[in-house]
């Protein structure tokens, strides 16, 4: 064995190929099947896509690095299910390019924060978290309210998302900018056209409370309000008692 290795050590290219071969095995065995085994991602009927305004909000969530402190992945542990809601299923992040499961909870998990609080609460919280949660350590995001949202190019964004596998229709891509506006302007004609395209369940609201401008606050709140609401499948399976692991320490 050692002799053979002594030979290998004399040949740089053989060594290079040996490293590539040995290092590739783990990834091939663990990752490749995730694309081919059907059970990896559940199939559900009611899965929706993000609306253009929600995509814009998600991009702000990414831009600000919210994922550094907030996870979006409720684990199959009893205390997490009791604290945050039904545990996360793979299908719920099926259209998340990239996923935002996170790795750290300096703040709470947000996988099911959608519709838990009012729009006004989110706006107040983002302007200054300590106004609503006195000992919060989250930064203030007051300037989101001052920044006008750039959304003229949302069609390009949806079209790039379609290239990586999100089923946006041609019509959705064509009208992306109008739909961004419509979702944040209840009662407008564009709002009706938006609902027709994205369905009755979609969330039309005056998110930041300011009827004059579409701000980055509008987009981020719209995104936060959809978290966990793209499909109801997790809630349905929780009726049949989710299988969780109990780790409770108090008794």
């Amino acid at each position: 064995m050692l002799d053979k290795h002594a030979k290998l050590e004399r040949n740089a290219l053989a060594f290079v190929f040996a490293i590539i071969f040995v290092a590739s095995i783990g990834g091939i065995v663990e990752i490749a099947p995730l694309f081919t085994i059907d059970e990896t991602v559940e199939e559900v009927e009611d899965m929706r896509v993000y609306t253009p305004l929600e995509v814009a909000g998600r991009n702000i969530y990414i831009r600000e690095g919210c994922y550094a402190c907030h996870s979006q992945m409720i684990r199959t542990l009893q205390d997490e299910v009791e604290r945050y809601g039904p545990y996360s299923l793979a299908v719920e992040s099926q259209y998340d390019h990239p996923m935002l499961w996170g790795s750290k909870r300096t703040g709470p998990d947000l996988a099911r924060v959608g519709e838990k609080f009012s729009d006004a609460w989110h706006v107040a919280h983002l302007i200054n978290p300590r106004n609503v949660v006195p000992s919060s350590v989250m930064p203030s995001y007051a300037w989101l309210m001052r920044n006008t949202l750039k959304y003229e190019d949302m069609g390009l964004h949806l079209s790039a998302l379609r290239k990586v596998g999100v089923p946006y229709s041609d019509e959705m891509i064509e009208n992306a900018a109008q739909d961004t506006y419509g979702q944040a302007r209840p009662g407008s004609e564009r709002a009706d056209a938006f609902v027709e395209r994205y369905g009755e369940e979609s969330n039309v609201s005056l998110f930041d409370g300011d009827p004059d401008r579409i701000t980055e606050m509008d987009a981020l709140v719209a995104y936060l309000q959809i978290l966990g609401r793209l499909t109801d499948v997790a809630h349905q399976s929780s009726d049949s008692a989710q299988q969780t692991t109990s780790t409770g320490s108090g008794d």
Binding site: A23, R75, A90, P98
Partner: protein
């Protein structure tokens, strides 16, 4: 820099600088309505400065022919100094964000100064800025000595170093402007990623071509690790960053993978960035500088082989332990846990090999802070790899995941292992590179050592405490069967530990400042009349073609 290049090399450097200007110009025009345009302009500006310097010194004297028979250490010198500057900058930002958790109001009411944007500046700055430059610099030095051959090229080492630093600058400025792909430790966007691929290919080709010139029949262990670092980081980087840009004029892209597949790819990348950037590369450093400083050969050749192939094979399976109890299929979680536990064997073989090499030189460890840095690094390497395997066990992970324990673990590795081995290597290397008898001040090395060690210990202990308290509070039940604490209760409980962590981080930062000062003063020291001969010269059997 330029005086060491022949006229031919100066003109090829000019072509390359011109290419940089063209590439930057393309980005600047295509992305004129986006941050992308600013990055393009930055590349144009950098390329123009290089071009100007090359043109103005084009007709300067060419280097003497004999100098071509010496080792080429200018790139290493550059890398060492730049690495230390990155260290000071990035640990400063790290300590800043640590204080932001104590004083959350201390932002300037602007996006760039909030925790979420500054945190990747810190992580990229230390991992890639400090760690990457340290690895590139030391790998060039080790490669030449262990091969007894000059680097196979005089321009390409500069392409690697300057290109890599431009990548790092695009990355950290991008985050502050809000450009991020959000994948942890792979945050730079598509154009910076493509740029890095080119730089990395140049690095690999240079490495293999120099190995081909070697006059030693065997490739030394340190080079195995550096090669694994270069190769596997390339594979990880390319696959994890596959993405479709919104347009050629947008910095923003959407990753090719989504959801569970993306999560697995990301943590396969993330964990192996730890393995092949922060472990493999720095083991390469350890295998050369520790025996040299101790004046003793590596304890066991057999253990070196076992740990090298063990690490190269096993780490690639371990990434899924970042996804325990998530929507990732169980079988992948179980594989990840199993391989993570086995990983302690090759990891401890490396740590043990290092410590047993020191066995018999303990009086040197006691007296010489430089060697003590490397000793402590090996101890922290052993501790944090054990801790890592332990945290990969599913039930342990149910407590530790999402908490500060993970942050503590990472810093035990990053401060205790990666940074300490680098300081030991640099203090060994700097007098050799600049032909000085010794470092400027051994008392400053001693001060740096104790600041770094106490900073690391304070940091890691406070995060162990806060992490375990968080984990226990989140899962505690009251007598009536409801959860005992709200999430905010757990945030309130963190307050004293966040202060302690920021203090520990500050001590570590201070040590880095002292280190940079000491290295700078060493460079400025007058050359000794009788400089020691550190190395056997390269063997020259053929005249270099130039």
């Amino acid at each position: 820099m330029i005086s060491q290049l022949t006229r031919d090399e100066r003109s090829s450097a000019m072509y390359l600088s011109g290419l940089l200007v063209l590439f930057g110009g393309f980005l600047a025009i295509a992305g004129r309505n986006d941050v992308l345009g600013w990055h393009g302009a930055m590349l144009v500006f950098s390329g123009a400065i290089l071009l100007f310097a090359l043109i103005s010194r084009f007709y300067d004297d060419e280097p003497a022919r004999e100098s071509r028979h010496e080792y080429y250490d200018d790139p290493t010198k550059f890398g060492v100094v730049v690495a230390m500057i990155w260290l000071v900058f990035a640990t400063f930002v790290g300590d800043w964000v640590a204080w932001l958790l104590v004083f959350p109001e201390a932002t300037f009411d602007a996006g760039w100064s909030s925790f979420g944007r500054l945190r990747p500046v810190h992580t990229t700055g230390v991992i890639f800025g400090f760690g990457g430059n340290a690895l590139i610099a030391t790998s060039f030095h080790v490669l030449q000595r262990t091969s007894r051959a000059r680097l196979a090229g005089s321009v390409s080492p500069w392409v690697v170093l300057i290109g890599f630093n431009l990548f790092c600058i695009m990355a950290v400025t991008g985050y502050m402007f809000g450009i991020t792909a959000s994948k942890e430790y792979a945050e730079p966007e598509w154009y910076a990623d493509l740029f890095l691929v080119v730089i990395w290919v140049v690095y690999f080709v240079l490495y293999v071509r120099t190995l081909a010139r070697r006059q030693e029949p065997h490739i030394y262990v340190a080079n195995w690790y550096f090669m694994a670092f270069i190769l596997v980081v390339a594979i990880l980087h390319i696959i994890n960053n596959l993405a479709v840009p919104v347009s050629l004029g947008h910095a923003k892209s959407y990753s090719l993978f989504s959801g569970v597949q993306d999560a697995m790819t990301q943590w396969w990348y993330g964990h192996n960035a730890v393995a092949f950037f922060l472990t493999s590369g720095f083991l390469g450093m350890l295998y050369y500088y520790l025996p040299r400083r101790a004046g003793r050969p590596i304890y066991s050749y057999r253990m070196s082989i076992i740990s090298f192939w063990g690490i190269t094979f096993l780490y690639m399976w371990a990434g899924s332990h970042h996804l325990h109890y998530t929507a990732l299929p169980h079988w992948v979680q179980n594989l990840g846990m199993t391989f993570s536990i086995i990983l302690v064997v090759p990891s401890w073989a490396s740590a043990g090999n290092a410590l047993l090499t020191l066995n018999g030189a303990w009086e040197k460890v006691r007296d010489d802070a430089t060697l003590r840095f490397m000793f402590v690094a090996a101890v922290f390497y052993g501790l944090s790899t054990f801790e890592g395997s332990f945290m990969a066990i599913r039930p342990v992970n149910s407590l530790s995941h999402y908490t500060d324990w993970t942050v503590g673990h990472v810093h035990a590795g990053a401060l205790g292992w990666v940074a300490m081995i680098t300081f030991g290597a640099f203090y060994t290397l700097v007098p050799m590179l600049w032909n000085r008898e010794r470092m400027y001040s051994s008392r400053l090395i001693e001060a740096h050592f104790w600041l770094a060690l106490s900073g690391t210990v304070i940091y890691v202990f406070s995060m162990w405490n806060s992490g375990i308290i968080q984990g226990l509070m989140w899962r505690a039940y009251a007598e009536n069967g409801t959860l005992a604490y709200s999430f905010m209760d757990s945030v309130d409980a963190m307050a004293p530990y966040y202060v302690a962590r920021a203090v520990g981080g500050f001590l570590f930062f201070l040590g880095g400042v002292i280190g940079l000062y000491n290295i700078w003063k060493t460079i400025k020291m007058p050359a000794q009349a009788h400089t020691p001969i550190y190395d056997l010269p390269p063997v020259v059997d053929v005249e270099p073609a130039e």
